[in-house]
Symmetry: C2
Subunit: 638 residues, 2 copies
Amino acid sequence: MIPMEPVKGEEVAGVNGKVNFAAPRSFAVAFKSDMKETLFPDDPFHDFKGKTLAEKAKKSIQYFVPVFQWLPNYTGKLFMYDLLAGVTIASLAIPQGISYAKLANIPPVIGLYSSFVPPLIYAIFGNSKHLAVGTVASSSLIIAGAIEKKVHEADNPQLYLNLIFTATLISGVIQLVLGVFRLGILVDFLSHSTITGFMGGTATIISLQQLKGIFGLRHFTTQTDVVSVTKAIFQFKHEIRWECTLVGVFFLIFLHTAKMVKQKRPKLFWVQAIAPMLVVAIGCIFAFALDAKKYGIAIVGPLKKGINPPSLKNLDFDPKYISAPIEAGVITALVALAEGIAIGRSFALMVNQQIDGNKEMIAFGLMNIVGSLTSCYLTTGPFSKTAVNYNAGCKSQMSNVVMAACMMLTLFFLAPLFSYTPLVALSAIIMSAMLGLIEYDKAYHLFKTDKFDFLICMAAFLGVAFISMDVGLMLSVGLALVRALLYVARPASSKLGNIPDTSLYRDVEQYPGAINIPKTLVLQLGSPIYFANSGYIRERILRWVRDEKANKETDGDDVEYVLLDLGGVTSIDITGVETLIEIRRSLEAQEVKVVIVNPRLEVMEKLIVTNFVDKIGKDRIFLSIKDAIEGCKFSLSQ
Amino acid sequence: MIPMEPVKGEEVAGVNGKVNFAAPRSFAVAFKSDMKETLFPDDPFHDFKGKTLAEKAKKSIQYFVPVFQWLPNYTGKLFMYDLLAGVTIASLAIPQGISYAKLANIPPVIGLYSSFVPPLIYAIFGNSKHLAVGTVASSSLIIAGAIEKKVHEADNPQLYLNLIFTATLISGVIQLVLGVFRLGILVDFLSHSTITGFMGGTATIISLQQLKGIFGLRHFTTQTDVVSVTKAIFQFKHEIRWECTLVGVFFLIFLHTAKMVKQKRPKLFWVQAIAPMLVVAIGCIFAFALDAKKYGIAIVGPLKKGINPPSLKNLDFDPKYISAPIEAGVITALVALAEGIAIGRSFALMVNQQIDGNKEMIAFGLMNIVGSLTSCYLTTGPFSKTAVNYNAGCKSQMSNVVMAACMMLTLFFLAPLFSYTPLVALSAIIMSAMLGLIEYDKAYHLFKTDKFDFLICMAAFLGVAFISMDVGLMLSVGLALVRALLYVARPASSKLGNIPDTSLYRDVEQYPGAINIPKTLVLQLGSPIYFANSGYIRERILRWVRDEKANKETDGDDVEYVLLDLGGVTSIDITGVETLIEIRRSLEAQEVKVVIVNPRLEVMEKLIVTNFVDKIGKDRIFLSIKDAIEGCKFSLSQ
């Protein structure tokens, strides 16, 4: 079926079974193509081809401001779905808002503000139909931890709050810039394993922190690591109030039961969704009716009526403190993006929608910039709220608008009622949410399937739990980068043999039945060849040849040709080409000839431009292993 | 020629043309293999198989102490060659030793000491037959720059010198440790482009520094960057002594002529080799006879007779200063290794000898540790000396022993003579050597062949020339790492078509004659699939499918199958497998079926262990594109 002789006289490369030695693309063309793959991998403007200017302008606006895309087609029927979903997530937003604000040591009302303005901004600029905007526990804790390094909340609550707003602004600006410059690539370096470990570690330390609320302690440590928290509990154990603990355990069991109900009957998802609101309501009534303070059960305290006041004047760029909000801003920007984008993507996938990570970054950035000016702190797309939104049947970003409307009503009329919320109820809500984020199964799955991924995950988990959140994150990302560089520095290569009765050549380790070719060693290289691995590749190839020679000697055979199958080599740099030249020189000195098989486009361009092709000779480069072996046989028989 | 139906009933994978679904290797086996590839890529103990214990012990000793390998076979005839080479490099070692010691602001005699003890150590432990041990300009400048940050030579010369010895010890220990733990991989990250730029930048600033000597200035800047040096020359231009400048220019022309002679007639290499010694000799006679000081020509000054005094007591680990020698030690350890190993390797290549980078590190480490205890500072294998050694016909490490013997004689008897060496002669020698290290051609070659490599090179060059040596080095290595990570994050993928009348499938961009397959899109992926690129790969594949659908629509065709050729994918992690699952889910939602072709050993193991194979079905995985297309056709016709 394969012609032994290529058809002659053809001009178009590829129809004559010959290698394409056409002149390389110009630098400009190659560079444009590289930049596109790096920054615009999803080809966002693919719809624009062949459109008029007016259509293009319309498309551009729709592209950057998605509300113009979905709102014109929005119907009353869709709104009914979004109304239900919006009210449901609002009932979750109130207790979560108050709880996480407490976690960040800021006034609870800030948490409520944060579920009013940011969702409206997201509804305009956001891509995901399911993402519900809100504050998250991990970022609340990171932001508090970073600011606490400079200013203690207890010493100067106003300055502390101002720095939180500043950190939010910085975070928003970073997210916006990353989005505008299409640097979504940075988020790619937070792997699933890192996120799993990080979430698990964060959930663990946040849960432990809640023991303060559950036990009703008045004193506690400001440290977050497991050891300090455990010590603190033993230190202050005389303060434990059994009434408070009892209430806390009751709430925890209640929330856990609601979770069980949803797991058993997914249709009853709303039971879990409104459970936190119920806990708050029951807590408030109980605290108001029984004068909870008598039993050592602390309450949230005064909550001011009215919507978000402006906070432009609160932003504080005093060089004395600025390092803290910068640190908080950078870390939370990335963590919040990673969480928000991953979650938006997961849900979009279920309905086969595409999410553009870079556009999401812009939406998140704008949402946090506007938020920082309207007394909100860092928001993103939290998993719990988004899942509830999805389950409640939301159809568009309108559910965020509904939630914002509910929050507005709450802020205008109901805020004072929530001042009776017992802290123990908030602790139970946070703890219950956190325990669901520790994914034992996933960690075990990692352990079973990929030990290095498990190591990356555990580095994040243990680092966060026993040292601090930033150290944990950096350890894990560092390990992941080492792995990425090791992949690069130690690329796999394998010896190929002929699968009997076919023209296929496959790894002899994987296919032990593959047959060796007389006088010839066929090697398959993978991944790019360049400075970081060229030394290794040289050593490895020379070792393959040495081993093969030792093997063949016993068979009375000798290695005369080494075929390098470059089909898996995606690119090569100058050091790589020089290495190929070195390898060739070393092998020729041993009277072994080097033959190149199937270099890909980019590699071939580099081989031509560096004169490698001329040096080795065009007759030493073949399109397939089969052709190459026949070419070698031909020379051998001469 | 290719059987349509695989032969049935065979057990060994690979003989029946079927995919190998055998159970994965155990973790221990895979881990051992990975560790071997990472740390022992050259399989250093390959000779040991099937030897008795005594033979193994002997081989081990020979392996770690190469002198036992070459000395027993050493003959008188070989010695004649090494004697000539040794004397020649000694004549270069004297002026270079004094010059580079001046560059490091330490007593010139230290430079002579450094060519006595370290070459002896290298002769015992070193691998390379051609490497000539000595001090180098770049490391001399780096070490001085780092120590100057803490202690100025003028303020406390003894402390300054002690810290230089300490830095040498630290450098040696780092090199030894890197060698013992076989971390030669670190040196791999200094690419040829980085080294070219770094050398060029260093040579530029060192040359500029020599203008002080050439012009006979008494005052000068301690800064090394181009701007400061140029300013200093203008600032002190009233100090310029024309007599001194005249002598300097004369020496420069003399040295340049010697270089020309060698280039025109390679056989006359010794003219260039002894030229520096001649310059020193002429300079000394001239300075002694004419009382050079009268003309503003400064001389080296008193040189003590006698060989290296011990310097154990000079080592200074005072925490107040230790950061400086640590910085100097770390940077010079790596730079010296990169230079020494690269040079050793280049010359070894010419006679088809293999150099084990890790063993070289051990030799360099021991040489510097012993050096730091015997009043030597950092040594490595300088290019100029090694080239002269090679050209002079050296046959073994014995030439280093001869050089050491010459140095010993010089130190015992001739040292005082060299005290008359005019500084201007040294400046001319350094400047002449440095100008040869600026490789314009290579930079132009980089510019023409690889713009990114050129950028990496220029980052090192401009960084070193205009900021500082460490900043330049870090900038360049940083850029190279970004590139390495980009390779990883944005792997190439291409659409394949069938080369007419063959069973070959190749990139349609590269081979425009390749034919599309009806209802099918064949994609070739390259490089590993894992967290850092899985997001990109998902976007890219979905884009390929979208574009292909748009293309085929116009032909009245539709995409029903996507074939993913994983032959170029060397490994995959959990995030990568999850991405494949996501891609499959997205495409199945569009009624496009995913088929996997030719996964390699490591990838197949991961796909089996994560149950991906069970999810997609074994009938969706094929050994070759041809099989896969036939499999798809079969389903289509049903």
